[in-house]
């Protein structure tokens, strides 16, 4: 029992690490206040779930989920890369709101608030990942690959260009860098990996509904990367671990679940405020939110 519980938390941590590290690519590296990450998470989850429910094998469905999320990221980048700071935040938040409402209201496709039950466990190369432990290993491998790729990008000259764009867009453009294109790529790639996380989530929980991808989730994601420190994948990883474990004791205090949910949100918000107040650069961070 306790083992199953531990494995459950670890699987969620893997999924949230992918989400956080990919979100940090836009927020921490490109300096874009991207509040729409949860929408890409949802698009990946729904795409992958619907495809497998319709008979598509798991791996193509996972990749399709990532690509759909990436396309959504690219589309969102078109009207928004010229927006600065708060305006970008509002626009991407609006986007997340739209996606949430599409998931709720396009009933013929998504079944709306009823959600999608019975999402199959991954099956590829003749293996079915059906056990909890198997899924943990599978998500850990996917997470490691995603983190490796994102970190590789961040540590490359392209990553340096992202950081230059974050620190001073005008200066970067006078050095001949196409900052809008750079930001569009960052948002697309970030969304792509959020889509992978979405697929991982859907096939683990086996049931998704629009509430999973609500705007409340944005607070958790931002808390993770801010606690860990922006512009640091190490920070995003540590942040995900801390924030997923911290509220767990709430479960064991014997509160009814109607209180545990809101209490968890309050806890996240509290941690976020404390960090912003006492240690604005987070645990490993180098940059502050909206510094430049």
């Amino acid at each position: 029992m306790i083992e199953a519980y531990l494995i459950h938390i670890l699987i969620l941590i893997c999924i949230y690490i992918v989400l956080a590290v990919s979100l940090d690519l836009t927020v921490g590296f490109a300096g874009m206040l991207n509040m729409g990450h949860v929408a890409f998470f949802g698009i990946g989850a729904y795409t992958s779930a619907l495809l497998t429910l319709g008979g598509t094998p798991f791996l193509p469905a996972l990749i399709a989920g990532a690509i759909m999320a990436g396309i959504a990221g690219f589309v969102l980048s078109l009207p928004t890369t010229k927006l600065k700071g708060d305006y970008l935040a509002v626009a991407t938040l609006g986007f997340a709101f739209i996606i949430e409402s599409v998931l709720k209201n396009w009933v013929s496709l998504t079944r709306g608030p009823l959600g999608l039950p019975g999402i199959p466990r991954p099956e590829f190369f003749g293996i079915t990942v059906s056990s909890q432990l198997g899924y943990l290993i599978f998500s850990a491998v996917v997470m490691a690959i995603c983190v490796f790729l994102i970190v590789r990008v961040e540590k490359s000259p392209f990553g340096r260009m992202l950081e230059a764009t974050r620190d001073d867009e005008v200066a970067a453009s006078t050095l001949g860098k196409d900052v809008y294109k750079t930001k569009a790529i960052a948002l697309t790639v970030s969304a792509f990996f959020a889509g992978i996380a979405g697929s991982l989530y859907a096939h683990y929980i086996s049931f998704i509904d629009p509430t999973t991808f609500s705007l409340l989730e944005v607070i958790l994601l931002f808390s993770i990367i801010i606690v860990g420190g922006l512009g640091s994948s190490k920070g995003a990883i540590v942040g995900a671990i801390i924030l997923l474990i911290l509220p767990e004791p709430l479960r064991f205090l014997g509160f009814p679940s109607s209180i545990v949910g809101p209490a968890r949100q309050i806890l996240y918000a509290l941690i976020l405020l404390l960090i912003l107040y006492f240690r604005p650069k987070g645990i490993f961070g180098r940059v502050e939110l909206g510094e430049s």
Binding site: P157, R166, D168, V170, A171, T174, L175, G176, K177, G231
Partner: protein
């Protein structure tokens, strides 16, 4: 004087720019000749920085056109103009504050790993020849801090030097400096003068906004005077110095 010549590298033709009711640049024309230092002076608010921003595509013109190396670059994207060979610094220093001196300078050069799809195969570590170039430029401007210093940790004067060094790293055809001596000590100022002369002797073209009259007059081959968004005159420094209209513009009538 100051008309279009065969060796003109930059033409600023009848350009206007207003911000709401403020006419920052008014049907203004001037020309920059290849291989020389051109001074751009004028009282506060004359429109000098606005002219720079129009040339580099950071601001869009209301009318007129700008020709750089025989190509119409009016309202083209900033990065496009920069890649054509236009390097500049800013009146208020603009650096990448969370990056080191070295990284700030490296960004002035294009790297194959800046292409996203190729980025997986490159680290940020510079090649030997590139690092050599960085060190050379750093020495040239007289910057003594270690290359690994974050630029946010530098003094204002040092920041200006990093910004200048970064511009020099580019493969530029025209270097535009917006008040390079503002806020730097007399020692660096002298050094800067020597440096700009050296660049000119290497055939570089420089357009220089400057309030320090001795500095700009002793360096420039030609001086353009802006006042209230218009060209007041353009001539050899000696002539500009003695001109009554210029004195009036600076002192107010």
């Amino acid at each position: 004087m100051n008309t279009k010549q065969p060796d003109t590298i930059l033409e600023f033709n009848n350009v206007s720019k207003h911000f709401g009711g403020v006419k920052a640049v008014r049907n203004c024309s001037f020309y920059v000749k290849k291989g020389q230092i051109t001074g751009l002076i004028g009282p506060n608010g004359a429109g000098k920085t606005t002219a720079f921003n129009l040339i580099t595509g950071l601001l869009k013109t209301n009318s007129g056109n700008i020709i750089f190396m025989n190509e119409d670059i009016t309202d083209k994207p900033t990065h496009y103009i920069a890649n054509k060979g236009l390097a500049r610094t800013f009146q208020k220093v603009r650096l990448f504050d969370n990056l080191t001196i070295e990284e700030n300078l490296l960004l002035a050069k294009h790297h194959p790993g800046e292409n996203f799809f190729k980025s997986f195969f490159f680290t940020r570590k510079p090649s030997k020849s590139l690092l050599k170039k960085v060190k050379q430029v750093v020495n040239l401007v007289g910057l003594t801090k270690p290359l690994s210093t974050l630029t946010s940790e530098l003094s204002y004067g040092q920041k200006r030097l990093v910004e200048l060094a970064r511009a020099l790293m580019m493969d530029y055809k025209l270097l535009m400096l917006d008040e390079p001596t503002a806020g730097v000590n007399p020692f660096i100022r002298k050094r800067l003068k020597v440096l700009l002369r050296k660049l000119r002797s290497q055939g570089k073209t420089i357009l220089l906004i400057e309030h320090d009259m001795d500095f700009v007059m002793s360096l420039s081959d030609e001086v353009i005077v802006l006042d209230a968004g218009k060209k007041l005159m353009a001539d050899k420094p000696g002539k500009v110095r003695k001109n009554k209209k210029v004195l009036e513009a600076y002192l107010g009538k």
